[in-house]
Amino acid sequence: MLLKNKFIFLEALLITILIFVIGIFIGISIENKNNYNSQVFYMNSEADLMDSYILTNLISEEKNCDIVTKETINFANKVYEKSLLLEDYDKFALLMDDLTMLNKRYTLMKTFLWKSNLDNLNCLNNTKMIVYLYNYNTDDLAIEAEQNVWSRLLMQIKQDDKNLILLPIAANLDVSSLDFILNEFNIEKVPAVIVNNKEIFYDLEKKDDLKNIIYN
């Protein structure tokens, strides 16, 4: 072998390591940025929740249901949008740990929102609401497929009506308060969809049929 080629193996190794170190650094930076964004979203949502909670308490005394309803819908919409974003970040997180803890905190927040709505049923009586209970990171392929269709179906219904409150809640993250509410509703299995805090669906429905049930 020629002398000039003698160290080629080592040189190639060093360059490859360099590319990988840079690549992994970029990858970790992207995921850190996503993690940071998710944390910021969560903190904003938490602040919004506090704000909404205080406002609801202040104005409910005056029985101003319009403002309560408007605030609740706004907040629920924000949380829903951030949940979708979090889902994307979670799906593309490869190098760092998944976002289970953050999902759990969002679940808590959504449970709190649901509970507040249940407490304010008199005021929110005309507001349409869907609670979608699903499994976070399920291994069951049939359940995953069913959940895909449920989320797509509910998303389409939500897109048709901005005032509809849609709360997708991960039901398997060991949140005691959520488990308590689910017991109250006698939820037998997940995925399940609770429409207007009354009717519970375990099997997929046609979009139009479900819309009829929601709005009638």
């Binding site: 072998m1 040189e11 996503n34 994307d88 392929l141 269709v149 429905e205």
Partner: protein
């Protein structure tokens, strides 16, 4: 991190390493790629051509060797392995026409493999050098002359040529033409780091003493006797060179079925060779100590990764199918924009860089293997890059299966 990602990282690392190594070899040696040592030595040469049912091409092959400008080509031995067609008659005619130069031989009984005919012909070789060719290969007039100079280096035991595709009439043949150019370019680069792992069947020349006396000829139990012999030569302490200026044209399979069968044979033969030389791999220079273990490791990782990918994609396909079925039942869209959204990940970036490097390497191979009056269409390069190479895992798995069940049929 999940298993698939770990596999992907390891496999990418190996792929990056080899590509970068090739690029470095290329950068440092680009002036020598077409270097042909001039020689004053007069080394007598015999060419041995095994033949089985090649009545269409064997005459053309003999003609090409007869036209060779190498003045010390003393004998062309054509060994017919009891063909069922008129091959032997054709060979005999050439013997009658050129009695001093052509020798027609017939094996006592069909040996079933090219190695058998080559060994039979080798018995009749009395010159310093011996070359082997296939009966459907057509060397250019100066192909031999451009190889002989390498033997002035006393450490060189064998020299191989650059093989190009003769028949480029259908799409599969054109794709193979690209592949042969990439292989030739890669082989030349590997030659600079003493890692040529095969001296090709269409035309390779060796010192007769090594092949005939020291090594006892070709291994008739191996499906790729040319790979096996190369390893044997390297193991014996000799170096192998490649001459880029020695062009040999060969016919490649016209149909996918024949192509697949040929590739299985090549791969099973490669596996047989690796198995045979694994205990003495440390004696095979850089080829054995470094390149082969790396290749074997990447095979292992590649195949394991493939199983993980197949598992993952089967899951995905099942979920997509079920989702589509349930979506239809629920009367909603089967697919939405959200399903198509892609977030950039590190794997995505690595994949893009790896693909760009691979593509550059392939284009460099094509540039360095220009054929007069022939250029590849863009769609051929596209199909080659995206689909043709993707078929290799299937070949590898089938070959591994055949190797494990002891497949040894030509």
């Amino acid at each position: 991190m999940e298993t698939l990602i770990i596999f992907y990282f390891i496999y990418s690392f190996i792929a990056f390493y080899f590509l970068i190594m090739y690029f470095l070899v290329y950068i440092k040696n680009k002036k020598d790629i077409f270097y042909t040592p001039k020689t004053e030595s007069k080394r007598d040469l015999t060419i041995v051509i095994p033949c089985y049912n090649e009545q269409e091409s064997v005459g053309k092959t003999i003609e090409c060797f007869l036209k060779s400008d190498y003045p010390y080509l003393k004998k062309i031995i054509v060994v017919d392995d009891c063909s069922k067609d008129n091959s032997y008659k054709i060979i005999k005619k050439y013997e009658q026409k050129y009695p001093d130069l052509v020798l027609a031989l017939k094996t006592p009984k069909n040996t079933g493999k090219a190695a058998g005919s080559k060994n039979y012909g080798l018995k009749f070789v009395k010159t310093e050098l011996v070359g082997f060719s296939d009966s459907d290969s057509m060397p250019k007039i100066n192909a031999i002359t451009n190889m002989i100079g390498f033997f002035d280096d006393e450490t060189v035991g064998g020299v191989t040529s650059r093989v190009l595709v003769k028949n480029k009439t259908n799409f599969l043949e054109s794709l193979q033409s690209i592949e042969y150019k990439v292989i030739a370019f890669t082989r030349k680069l590997m030659g600079f780091i003493d890692s040529i792992y095969v001296t090709t069947g269409p035309l390779s020349i060796y010192r007769t003493k090594i092949v005939k006396d020291d090594l006892g000829g070709f291994d008739e139990n191996n499906l790729t006797e040319d790979i096996e012999l190369t390893w044997n030569v390297v193991k014996s302490g000799w170096r192998v060179e490649m001459s880029m200026n020695s062009l040999v044209y060969t016919y490649v399979p016209r149909t996918l079925k024949v192509w697949f069968k040929q590739r299985i044979r090549w791969n099973v033969g490669g596996m047989q060779t690796v198995k045979k030389y694994l205990p003495s791999i440390h004696k095979c220079g850089f080829l054995g100590k470094f390149i082969m273990p790396f290749f074997l490791f990447s095979w292992f990782i590649g195949l394991s990764g493939l199983f993980v990918i197949v598992y993952r994609y089967s899951r995905e396909i099942f979920i997509k199918y079920m989702s589509a079925y349930l979506s239809t039942k629920s009367e909603i869209a089967i697919i939405t924009f959200r399903d198509l959204a892609i977030n950039p990940t590190i794997l995505f970036f690595l994949g893009i860089i790896l693909f760009a490097l691979g593509l550059s390497f392939m284009l460099a191979s094509l540039v360095y293997s220009k054929e007069k009056g022939y250029s590849h269409a863009l769609h051929e390069i596209f199909i080659y890059s995206f689909f043709y190479v993707v078929l290799y895992p299937a070949i590898l798995i089938t070959s591994l299966f055949n190797f494990m069940r002891g497949y040894n049929k030509w």
